[in-house]
């Protein structure tokens, strides 16, 4: 593993045993997050992006879930590389919240209603770093200030129900970053927030990344957000990576019809109204992970599909510098 990599996921397989068979929610996914870098993982519901992030934290509910194969290499603060897929539960607990922080989608319900926010931010510090109550409180106060909560001294002793969604998401970020993790996993952190607050939270995350040098794995389905925060992008579809590249070239000239379709789905200002200006949609939905079609998994919904596409699955091939796509016809994607 290169020394500038924080997280290197190799051929990850996460399966769920369901009644009719085995559901391969993540099927052979590989990507790496560099130090100081924000990698966005994009995809529709059911594409496996959240399962990928939960696998990295080993938070897959088991049973029915299991990490069936692959490696999750993670470089800790001490520079040691460990394979999180094979770490004991005990060792994993000292990684969670300490070396990898996580922010969730639902700020309204992700805080425990019976503790003050100060207690909750300080909790991880107290049991990972052995701080006493007073030191943890001081550190929690510093974190609250850092995430831009006004009147932090007063807010420290408030309960979550006294705060708005945006405030709570700031508190979540403070909790996740309290132990100065080397990696922050953010699972759709702005989805539940309104647009102005979204922009503030994204700004905050960018600023904190500059200050702390944390790598960020950013899970989202919102390409607008990707353009705001990401350095590199991985597009997932039906448990596999279909396109991967740096944010500029991927968003400017997508080489996979699925990415192309996702971009076309975004409404933009100045769009014509009426019939000619109908919002684009990708027909159909993600195929069931229990019953994947042969060949290219996107072929059933692809405007460029031809008989050869369903014969064998295309490989993820380079289509430019730091840019690859899993499509036989990438040269035809405009």
């Amino acid at each position: 593993m290169d020394t500038d990599l924080t997280l290197d996921i190799r051929n990850l397989q996460t399966h769920f045993t369901a009644d009719p068979g085995v559901s391969k929610a993540v099927d052979g996914v590989s990507f790496a997050v560099r130090r100081n870098e924000t990698l966005a993982v994009v995809g529709e519901s059911g594409s496996g992006k959240s399962v990928t992030s939960l696998s990295a934290m080993r938070l897959i509910p088991s049973p029915p879930g299991i990490i069936a194969g692959g490696e999750i290499l993670f470089r800790g603060r001490d520079g040691q590389v460990r394979d999180l897929a094979r770490l004991s539960e005990r060792a994993m607990r000292s990684v969670r919240g300490n070396e990898i922080g996580m922010i969730f989608q639902e700020p309204m319900t992700s805080l425990n209603p019976v503790y003050t926010v100060g207690d909750q931010i300080g909790e991880a510090l107290r049991y990972h770093q052995g701080l006493d109550r007073r030191a943890a409180r001081a550190e929690a106060l510093a974190m609250l200030k850092k995430v831009g909560i006004p009147a932090a001294e007063r807010r420290l002793d408030e309960y979550p129900h006294q705060m708005s969604g945006g405030m709570r998401q700031r508190v979540m970020i403070a909790m996740a970053l309290a132990c100065r993790p080397t990696l922050l996993i953010a699972d759709e952190p702005t989805t539940a927030l309104d647009v102005t607050i979204q922009a503030q939270i994204l700004d905050l995350m960018r600023r904190l990344q500059e200050e702390t040098g944390t790598s960020i794995l950013f899970i989202t389905h919102n390409l607008g957000v990707v353009a705001e925060v990401a350095h590199r992008v991985v597009v997932m579809y039906a448990g596999r990576i279909v396109e991967e590249g740096d944010v500029r070239s991927l968003l400017k000239s997508p080489k996979h019809p699925y990415t192309r379709g996702l971009l076309a789905c975004m409404p933009h200002l100045g769009q014509r109204r009426g019939d000619g200006g109908r919002l684009h949609a990708i027909p159909g939905s993600v195929p069931s992970p229990l019953n994947r079609p042969r060949g290219c998994t996107f072929a059933t919904r692809c405007p460029l599909a031809e008989p050869a596409c369903t014969a064998a699955e295309p490989v993820l091939e380079p289509v430019g510098p730091d840019h690859s796509a899993r499509c036989r016809r990438w040269r035809d994607v405009q």
Partner: protein, 302 residues
């Protein structure tokens, strides 16, 4: 305006003077609880009974054990407000002392049932494979009428104050266990539990520091009801002669002893009976008030 009951306006409106004072869940609960005047009244009655029970040895007007053969079975009078019993003992003093024992039994039963019920409920709610076994066990216990089960335990254990506590504790454990299990099943799926796991919390930490504090409200409500049931069932056990040994003045024992005399001296049954009714009723009303006060708060907190 004039028809608005006094005391309403100043409770429901938050004071604008300190708009940012942090309100703990406990403070919010008290505000909700005391909205209803019947609840306040019951709470005061409960406190009074508790105070009498605590201070009984020092404030009884007569020695509750002192017999007076000449003054036996005297109706209520200025000297003996609740009359005297078949040995000429002062009934008021004995009711006051009885409060001490009845409340003690009730309280200990609450402690035993709540502790065991909470542990069982958490185990059933969090450790899925245990759920089926534990819940069928509680079903089996709950299938028997409370009093029958308690009599069976007393028959096995033998009569003593602590065996009454143990028997009633076991009888009421399933009630707590069911409520705790149900609430635990809800809370364990909340995102903040996953968030706590993502912060590296261990399983005992999750269960006792993150789930349990969120179950306090249903446990508290159950505890007040069990307090009331326990007092009632203890009285029934004593009345049937399988409870606390009859030499000890509990309310149940007093009523049991008065059976032979109630046609000449109905006050012997009336006053301990009233004490039971008053205590159980006020506990039930406070329990109801607690339940009402806790539900809307949980909805708002979401």
């Amino acid at each position: 305006m004039a028809s608005v009951p006094a005391g309403h306006g100043n409770v429901s409106l938050p004071s604008p003077a300190k708009p940012h004072r942090s309100r703990s869940p406990a403070a919010l609960l008290m505000r909700q609880l005391f909205r209803r005047r019947l609840v306040v009244l019951s709470f005061l009655i409960m406190l009074t009974i508790l105070a009498v029970a605590l201070l009984a040895p020092w404030i009884t007007p007569f020695n509750p054990m002192k017999m007076d053969i000449l003054g036996r079975l005297k109706p209520p009078s200025a000297a003996h407000w609740f009359g005297t019993d078949e040995y000429g003992r002062d009934v008021l003093s004995r009711v006051m002392l009885g409060a001490r024992l009845s409340l003690l039994v009730g309280l200990l039963v609450v402690v035993v049932a709540t502790l065991m019920g909470t542990l069982l409920g958490l185990a059933a709610g969090y450790i899925r494979p245990l759920d089926g076994v534990l819940m069928r066990l509680t079903d089996a216990l709950m299938a028997f009428p409370d009093i029958l089960l308690a009599i069976a335990f007393m028959a096995a254990l033998g009569p003593s104050l602590y065996n009454v506590v143990l028997a009633l504790g076991i009888v009421y454990t399933p009630r707590v266990a069911r409520v705790v299990r149900a609430a635990c099943l809800v809370v364990r799926e909340m995102p903040f539990i996953e968030a706590a796991t993502a912060l590296g919390a261990s399983t005992p930490r999750i269960v006792f520091l993150h789930i349990l504090p969120n179950l306090i409200s249903p446990i508290l409500v159950q505890a007040t009801f069990i307090f009331a049931y326990a007092i009632l069932t203890e009285a029934a056990l004593s009345f049937l002669g399988v409870g606390v040994p009859p030499t000890t003045p509990t309310w149940g024992n007093m009523i049991a002893g008065a059976q032979q005399y109630f046609q000449q001296a109905d006050w012997l049954i009336l006053f301990p009976g009233c004490a039971i009714v008053l205590t159980v009723l006020s506990l039930q009303i406070v329990g109801d008030g607690l339940r009402d006060a806790l539900d809307p708060r949980l909805q708002k907190a979401k």
